[in-house]
C-alpha cells in the first residue's frame, strides 16, 4: 500500500496565502475540473445534456455560469470546462461522462491546472500589467483564456472587479504565482 502525501500545486502541504495591502492572493487546490467537448454532429444533444447537468443555461463565448452543484465556463466553440469542489466531486469526470454519454468527450483536468484567487480592491491595475484583458470593466461572469507571462491562463471574473480566479498550467504554478505576486506588489 502506497503512503502518498497530497501536495498543492506549489509543492507545499497547505495552500499558499499572500497579502499585498488589503488584496489577497490565495492558492486554491481543492477544486476539480473536467473538460467537455461536443462530438461531431452531437453539438445540440451535448448542449441539452450539459445544461441538465448544470441546472442552468450554458455559458456563451467568454462566459461562465454557476449551477447549484457544479459550475462551468466556455473554453472554445462546443467546449466547456466544468468545475466543482474537489471534496464532494473527486470523480467529477466520470460523473460528467455518465450524464453526457456519447454526446461529448469528457477529460479529467484537475491535475493539469493550478488555480489562484485574487480578492480585493484595485484588481484592474494589477491585471492591466499582466494580460490584455480589460478587467477593470469586465462584467462578473466573464471567463476568457489569454496569455499571462507567455502562459495560457483562464481568467475568471467571479464578482465585478473584486474576485478574480486565474487558472493556469500546473507545471508552471511557481512562475504564475511569481508573476501574479510581482504585479500585485508593483500595482498596489
Amino acid at each position: 500500500m502506497h503512503d502518498l502525501v497530497a501536495i498543492t500545486s506549489l509543492g507545499a502541504n497547505a495552500a499558499r496565502l499572500d497579502c499585498v495591502g488589503a488584496v489577497t492572493l490565495t492558492e486554491v487546490p481543492d477544486w476539480a475540473l473536467a473538460s467537455v467537448t461536443a462530438r461531431l454532429g452531437q453539438e445540440d444533444a451535448c448542449r441539452v445534456a450539459l445544461a441538465t447537468l448544470l441546472g442552468v443555461e450554458l455559458p456563451g463565448p467568454g462566459g461562465m455560469v454557476a449551477g447549484p452543484e457544479v459550475s462551468a465556463f466556455w473554453t472554445a466553440p462546443d467546449q466547456w470546462m466544468v468545475e466543482a469542489p474537489y471534496e464532494a466531486h473527486q470523480d467529477l469526470a466520470r460523473a460528467v461522462k455518465e450524464v453526457m454519454g456519447d454526446t461529448a468527450s469528457v477529460t479529467e483536468q484537475s491535475d493539469g491546472w493550478c488555480r489562484f484567487d485574487i480578492e480585493g480592491e484595485g484588481l484592474g491595475a494589477v491585471f492591466e500589467r499582466l494580460c490584455n484583458l480589460d478587467l477593470a470593466t469586465a462584467a462578473p461572469g466573464s471567463a476568457s483564456r489569454t496569455a499571462i507571462e507567455h502562459m495560457g491562463c483562464f481568467v475568471l471574473c467571479r464578482t465585478a472587479g473584486g474576485h478574480i480566479s486565474v487558472i493556469g498550467p500546473r507545471s508552471s504554478a511557481g512562475s504564475l504565482h511569481h508573476a501574479l505576486l510581482t504585479a500585485m506588489s508593483s500595482a498596489l
Binding site: P61, G62, T75, A76, P77, N132, S144, R145, T146, A147
Partner: protein, 95 residues
Amino acid sequence: MIINHPLLGPRDAQEFTYLGDAALIERPDWQAEDAHRQFYEYLYLRDNPAGEHRELWFHEQGDRSWLVVTRNTLTHEITHVDLARDVARAKGRSK
C-alpha cells in the same frame, strides 16, 4: 494589430499565430487522376497579392479556434474575420 474575433471580440495579434494562405483549407482529393499535379500546386504555388489577402490565423493563447482573416497586405487593415470551420462547412465539408 487587432484581430476582431467573431466570438470573443477584438483581441491582440500577440495571442495568435499565423499559418498562411486560406487556400490551404481546400486540400485536393488524393484519389483524383491528377492528384500529383494538384498537390504540387496546393503545397508550393501561392499568390503573393499586394492588397487583400485571405489567410489562416490560430488563436493559440485564446480559444484555439482557426480563423480566416481578410487582411490588406499593404495597410494591414483587417476587413473581415470568419471562423475557419464555418468557411469549410460553407464549402460542404463535414468538419
